[in-house]
């Protein structure tokens, strides 16, 4: 599909597979509007309530990163590596420029995409990104603590139990993508990235708190940190309407989203 064809006709919804960087990559496409590539977290691709709502104003390309499907991925060494794969996926999809959403582990990958291909990323949105994280050991959490760390409102979602076999298989790859607690190279590179960036941090995120978001805000020249009230790590699942409203506003207006458009006029 050429770029011209992609711009004049609505993309087909549904899953397709593209060849990118030597991988066969599954991409689930939904919605209508400017292209938004979405990169999932360690749990694999998942349409949260909030990301689903984004499809009303964006064509969302939910990429299944190599290794998170049926096949093992021993090749990808790091988030930077995976970022190159994602850029290749964008090429294969015919997307010259695109908005980019990265969730948790996917946020580290998305950060590197913005570093490596900043001229192609029109907006960067990072949902609880996994870079610059505090030294907390989740393996010390009780099951209740783990649930609360991820979900402020489990009653609003259908929680899927992860397949333990698949988790075991994918965990080394997750570790390689997450990288060190604090990646100095990434930090130095992000300081030069001029892509308008929105970092979302869940007020009740038991894994990363608001620390990672604060760090992004501090080092990036064009970045806004949004703390989402009553949301844990799964922000777009806990506060879908708020997530979609703020993110779609940011996608439309960039940092100008800080200007309050909501009318206060009550009566003529």
């Amino acid at each position: 599909m050429t770029i011209d064809q992609q711009e004049t006709s609505a993309p087909r919804s549904g899953t397709r597979t593209v060849e990118a960087d030597g991988f066969a990559v599954a991409v689930d496409v939904r919605g209508e509007g400017a292209p938004l590539i979405a990169i999932h977290g360690a749990g694999g691709p998942h349409w949260t309530g909030g990301v689903d709502l984004l499809t009303r104003s964006a064509t969302v390309y939910a990429v299944e990163l190599p290794g998170f499907g049926a096949e093992v991925n021993d090749r990808t060494e790091s988030a930077e590596d995976m970022a190159r794969t994602v850029i290749a996926v964008a090429d294969a999809l015919g997307l010259e420029t695109f908005d980019l959403l990265g969730t948790s582990m996917g946020g580290v990958v998305a950060s590197w995409v913005a570093v490596l291909a900043g001229d192609r990323v029109t907006r960067l949105v990072l949902e609880a990104p996994g870079a610059f994280r505090p030294d907390r050991d989740p393996s010390s959490f009780t099951p209740e603590q783990m649930l609360a760390a991820f979900h402020a409102h489990p009653e609003r979602k259908t929680l899927v139990q992860p397949d333990p076999e698949k988790q075991r298989r994918v965990w080394p790859l997750v570790g390689r993508i997450m990288g060190p607690l604090h990646d100095e190279r990434l930090a130095a590179a992000l300081a030069e990235v001029r892509v308008p960036t929105l970092v979302l941090a869940g007020q009740k995120d038991g894994l990363f708190g608001t620390e990672t978001g604060a760090h992004y805000r501090r080092i990036m020249p064009m970045c806004s940190l949004a703390i989402v009230y009553d949301a844990a790590h799964d922000i777009s699942g806990d506060r879908p309407e708020a997530f979609a409203a703020v993110v779609s506003d940011f996608l439309r207006r960039g940092l100008v989203y800080a200007v309050q458009e909501r009318s206060t006029l009550l009566y003529p």
């Binding site: 979302l200 941090a201 007020q203 608001t210 978001g213 604060a214 805000r217 501090r218 806004s224 940190l225 949004a226 703390i227 989402v228 009230y229 009553d230 506060r239 708020a242 997530f243 703020v246 989203y257 800080a258 200007v259 309050q260 909501r262």
Partner: protein, 369 residues
């Protein structure tokens, strides 16, 4: 144990009227200034006689309590005094911009560093008429405001707040208040006592009789224990009317004549009996707008101060209260618009010089035995 006085900053000599008091009644030259001057005189004396803290609150549109901005009241006290604790107890959150309040606390902290305690309340029913705040949403709004305040207080970088009731795209409070400032919230119901415990705040009780307070204190203690937090007497504060005179008889006479500490009168003066206030009170308890207002929503009010009499009598009453409830911070209201200022100052003198040391003695004896 800690002892404080709450000062309502009354205006004196204003003719009675229902709430909201018509503004024309305030246009007496020097009226407000006189009320404030007396309050500052009171605060300075409180400091001199060894009271630990002087507290101010937030009430609007009323001659009885001239404190529409608790931060201004607190600044007036802080600037006039040197060492006494200053209690902003408290701000009526659903009425205020939480970021503005955070900034005010930051400024207050800058000049009264280490002396400050702040409190956050949902407010009395009439206050929901003050700026037209929605009472049905007040609990949710209050809880979000507390979270936003704490974020503004702690976050090192500017942030946007994506709330349910608040949508701020740029939050960057300067100066940021110290993390050491103790925070108090009203705990005058089992639900709010539980909230105070969950948040790790000081529990603020007020005006209800000792057995009722003891029950709220139990909830606060038990919830705290379940969360692994050990709390002590200084984690709980009780505010009540006090009237101290040289003898029990004199206190009785003074109270009869002035009706000082008649909570029912105060409630009526603050518009509590009005139909709108009744609807607000019901709303704050979750009664829908179109449902009838249930009977007995507000418990019968005490007609006289709980702590009243000679210094020895009042000291024993306070010690008994402490023993019944375990509350370690005692805050007395010793003045209002009805009590002649000289009598309020006498009450204060006796509180500081005689009652406080005597309570400490009695409580130590009780603890030792």
């Amino acid at each position: 144990m800690k002892f404080s006085v709450f000062h309502p900053f009354p205006n004196y000599g204003v003719p009675e009227s229902t709430w909201p008091n018509p503004p024309r009644l305030s246009r007496v030259p020097g009226l407000a200034r006189d009320g404030i001057d007396k309050a500052i005189t009171f605060a300075l004396r409180a400091e001199a006689v060894g009271v630990d803290q002087v507290s101010v609150a937030e009430h609007h549109y009323s001659a009885k309590q001239l404190s529409p901005n608790s931060a201004i009241g607190a600044v007036l006290v802080a600037q006039a005094t040197t060492t006494v604790g200053v209690g902003l107890l408290g701000s009526t959150l659903p009425l205020v911009n939480p970021l503005r309040l955070a900034e005010e606390i930051g400024m207050l902290d800058a000049i009264a560093g280490g002396r400050l305690m702040v409190g956050f309340f949902r407010g009395t029913p009439n206050e929901y008429l003050t700026y037209g705040s929605n009472p049905w949403e007040s609990k949710e709004v209050f809880q979000e405001q507390v979270e936003l305040l704490q974020a503004a207080w702690r976050e090192p970088e500017p942030f946007a707040w994506v709330g349910r009731h608040f949508d701020y795209r740029t939050v960057s409070v300067w100066p940021q208040p110290s993390e050491e400032i103790p925070i108090l919230v009203a705990a005058n119901s089992p639900a709010s006592a539980e909230y105070a415990a969950r948040k790790g705040f000081i529990a603020g009780f007020a005006f209800a009789p000792p057995p009722v307070i003891a029950s709220f204190a139990s909830v606060y203690r038990e919830t705290s224990a379940a969360l692994g937090r050990e709390i002590g007497p200084d984690d709980m504060l009780y505010r009540a009317f006090g009237l101290i005179a040289d003898t029990d008889e004199e206190a009785e006479r003074l109270q009869e004549r002035t009706q000082y500490g008649n909570f029912g009168n105060l409630d009526r003066a603050m518009g509590g009996a009005a139909p709108a206030s009744a609807r607000v009170a019901a709303a704050m308890k979750g009664v829908p707008a179109d449902a009838p207002i249930p009977e007995g929503l507000r418990p019968p009010a005490m007609g006289r101060p709980l702590f009243m009499g000679s210094p020895e009598t009042v000291a024993r009453q306070i010690a008994a209260f402490v023993e019944t409830t375990g509350v370690g911070r005692i805050e007395l209201v010793l003045s209002d618009a009805e009590l002649p200022f000289a009598d309020a100052m006498r009450s204060l003198d006796l509180f500081g010089t005689e009652v406080i040391p005597r309570v400490r003695e009695l409580v130590d004896v009780a603890v030792a035995s």
